[in-house]
């Protein structure tokens, strides 16, 4: 039962409910010729956690930016506490207590975490900065978020998940009355997410209104009071969380029934090992790791943030200094640079799409072919072939952009991720390493991607999936390697792969001798 929006405000039946704090009334937004929001109505009420869900490119971030003054609406109105407002800048919105936590990081890389948290809102003693207080508040905030990092470290040296926590701390420091969170958990492990949820309930108790979006629907069910679904820039439905389920949401989002998320695993046809890694180390991040990967197998890597999974893979790809032996199809290879790795049939999808994955200034075509450019150039780059490749990729990964030409920086987060995946697969590798492959991807597409990974294995390719989403690891992988602070903490196969088992190892509550692993 999809309830259409009644004119003059969301749900005519809202009479009995408390007056909204902030409202969108027929909000329209166009970028140049393209309209991406077609008259959205919806309202945030005191003391509620309101979830906004929708496919990639549905317009969630755009709507949030309109609400928080980052982007001017091109139609309709924003109402704050019963009056129409026109935020000319995010600053104005923040002064009115409306704060956005960006989906894409919004931090100055060279500045310290502390500087970023208080940027533009520095505390002062007279003319001077009040270092002490700011440092203290910063570490307090980060401690509350269970991210005990040195607040003087430049943000550039933090991990994606740590950056996300800094971003959240920055918003918390601006004592918001309306806090808008755009996929805050996309780059967090479940444990970190828990920490965030605690904060959310605390804020809720303090009467802060929270607008929240995520593609992890189970989260939504847990923390949200209200759920609004968008599809292709239009309002679809609005229900109390108590009256909805992940399936209903998914259906509203995609507009069709979703069969079960994960394809049947099937026994891995134990073929010859494609990749063997022995006593492999990445200074400072991973020590003396050994594992095997068979053709047609999906191997999961689980672990907490900072476990060093990313670094390990980057080492294997020749992106970091490393020591140890790597064998591909039995013969040892020397990987001095990513180029070597690619030549030996490896390909890696980075977890940091903005910083290391895509050239935000360039278009889809240039980005898609950047990794495999040799394939498109004899002497000259064959642009026609590139375009064809782009068409195929857009088709295959269902990349939705308002236009083909614009900067990929303007693509929605999820669609950027899909483009990145397409880029990684374009070199048609035998061994695929996917680091957080479904980060920020909507449930419909997730399903496609899982199927896609499954097919890769079926084709006899070897796949490694690093994921902080348990369900993903469990639902997708034939075998799971658990890492803990740079070392192997165990390996699980088939039926052993349970959330409980993984977490125990990840947290070091369960230790087993290395032999079993190697």
């Amino acid at each position: 039962m999809i309830t259409a929006p009644a004119p003059g405000g969301p749900r005519a039946t809202t009479g009995e409910r408390t007056a909204p704090i902030i409202e969108a009334r027929g909000v329209r937004k166009s970028f140049g010729p393209v309209e991406v929001l077609h008259g959205i109505d919806f309202a945030l009420r005191p003391g509620e956690v309101h979830a906004l869900v929708g496919e990639n490119g549905a317009g969630k971030s755009t709507l949030m930016k309109c609400l928080t003054g980052y982007q001017p609406v091109t139609g309709g109105e924003i109402w704050l506490r019963g009056e129409p407002v026109r935020f000319s800048s995010s600053d104005e919105a923040e002064r009115a207590g409306v704060v956005l936590i960006h989906q894409e990081f919004n931090l100055a890389e060279q500045l310290s975490a502390e500087a970023n948290i208080f940027l533009g809102r520095e505390l002062k003693k007279g003319v001077f900065l009040d270092w002490k207080t700011m440092r203290r508040r910063a570490s307090e905030l980060l401690d509350e978020l269970a991210t005990p990092i040195d607040t003087r470290r430049p943000v550039s040296s933090l991990s994606v998940s740590q950056k996300q926590m800094v971003e959240i701390a920055k918003a918390l420091a601006r004592d918001a009355r309306v806090l808008v969170m755009d996929e805050p958990t996309a780059v967090l492990t479940s444990r970190e997410a828990e920490v965030l949820f605690e904060q959310i309930s605390r804020l809720k108790a303090e009467g802060v209104v929270i607008l929240y979006t995520s593609h992890k629907l189970d989260e939504i069910v847990r923390i949200a009071d209200e759920v609004t679904v968008l599809r292709d820039g239009s309002f679809i439905s609005n229900r109390p969380a108590s009256k909805t389920s992940t399936d209903t949401m998914a259906r509203d989002m995609v507009g069709r029934e979703l069969s079960d998320l994960f394809p049947p695993k099937g026994e891995p046809r134990r073929l010859a090992p494609a990749l063997e890694v022995e006593r492999f180390s990445v200074p400072g991040h991973a020590r003396d790791i050994s594992f095997k990967l068979a053709k047609g197998e999906v191997l999961g890597f689980a672990g907490l943030v900072g476990a060093g999974r990313t670094e390990l893979m980057e080492g294997i790809m020749g992106l970091r200094e490393s020591a140890g032996t790597i064998r591909v199809n039995g013969d040892p290879i020397r990987v001095a640079s990513p180029r070597d790795a690619v030549r030996h049939g490896l390909s890696y999808l980075t977890e940091d799409r903005k910083g290391r994955g895509l050239l935000l200034e360039y278009g889809m075509r240039e980005n898609l072919t950047l990794l495999g450019l040799d394939r498109f150039s004899k002497i000259f780059v064959d642009e026609a072939a590139e375009r064809k490749a782009l068409d195929t990729a857009v088709e295959r990964f269902d990349i939705r952009g308002a236009s083909r030409e614009g900067r990929v920086g303007n693509l929605s987060g999820g669609n950027q991720q899909k483009l990145l995946l397409a880029k990684t697969m374009l070199v048609d590798p035998d061994i695929v390493i996917l680091d957080e492959p479904t980060r920020g991807i909507d449930i419909g597409t997730k399903q496609q991607i899982y199927r896609f990974i499954h097919d890769l294995a079926e084709e006899g390719r070897a796949v490694i999936v690093i994921s902080s989403e348990m369900s993903e690891v469990i639902g997708l992988c034939h075998r799971v390697v658990v890492m803990r602070s740079g070392r192997l903490a165990g390996e699980l196969t088939g039926a052993e792969i349970t959330e409980e088992a993984i977490v125990r190892r990840a947290m070091g509550l369960h230790s087993e001798p290395l032999e079993e692993v190697a």
């Binding site: 240039e366 990794l371 780059v381």
Partner: protein, 336 residues
Amino acid sequence: MSSAETRPSTPREKHGRRLDFHVWGPVIALVALVLFGMSLNDQFLSSGNVTNVLARSAFIGIIAVGATFVITIGGLDLSVGSMSAFLAGVTIIVLNALVPVLGIGWGSILVGMVACLLLGLAAGFVNGILITVGRIEAFIVTLGTLGIFRSLVIWLADGGTLSLNFELREVYRPVYYGGMAGIAWPIIVFALVAIVGEIVMRKTAYGRHAAAIGSNDQVARYSAIPVERVRLVTYMLQGMLVGIATIMYVPRLGSASSTTGLLWELEAIAAVIIGGTVLKGGFGRVWGTVVGVLILSLIDNILNLTDLVSPYLNGAIQGVIIILAVVLQRGRKGAA
């Protein structure tokens, strides 16, 4: 950060507007200058004057094409001017030394040319290695080599002037003053370099890689681009182009001294940026650079066409025109 992001206005709109102005800005400025020149002096479009202007643009022009690539990868080369003085000096020494051996003739000159090119490559290699392997800011490295090349030429010339053997100069002269089908050689070479440069930038993997590195070298690394090698190659390319420019330059003045190629680096960089290449890297446009070079040397030429202003103020006029030329593409640049 790339400057294209610096406006909050909605990118695509901006993109559109930017494109127009960005593409046509320099051209409009150039046309305006030409019209102004015509209005001032009827000799302005005489083949003689046009040839002069184009031919003398060739040196800076050829060098600026290299600078376009260097700047596109997010680098900088301040040493080009004194590098060219150094190359000219050594080439002249080599040529003079060759006279007794190979005699007065093309033999000697060809050997000299090759020497000049190789030395240029070597000089670029030095810059490149220090920047990539040595991991030193390009600004510092090339500021250093600027001083080094400059004083090497002074030293070679004993503080004076190195001059090319006179008979040999007569043989060599046509390389600058001669031409083909009525077009002077420097113009032909400049045109070729520019066209090839434009193609390399637009159509080759190398050009794409250069832009990627300038735009975000991390992404480039993760895309299996041999970042350091591309950088090194780019600085060597710059060196080689300085070599080509010098080959054209030697027959023009037949000498090298402490003042040869003075401040060419500034002119080259200015031309590149007037042409619409982004100083912080990530986007380069060779043909724009060509327009930039023409604008710069037209300014000098026009100032010689009339006695409108006291020669003391030439510098001021140049300054004003340079700024005006860029105002036309304001939409684009991220100011800083």
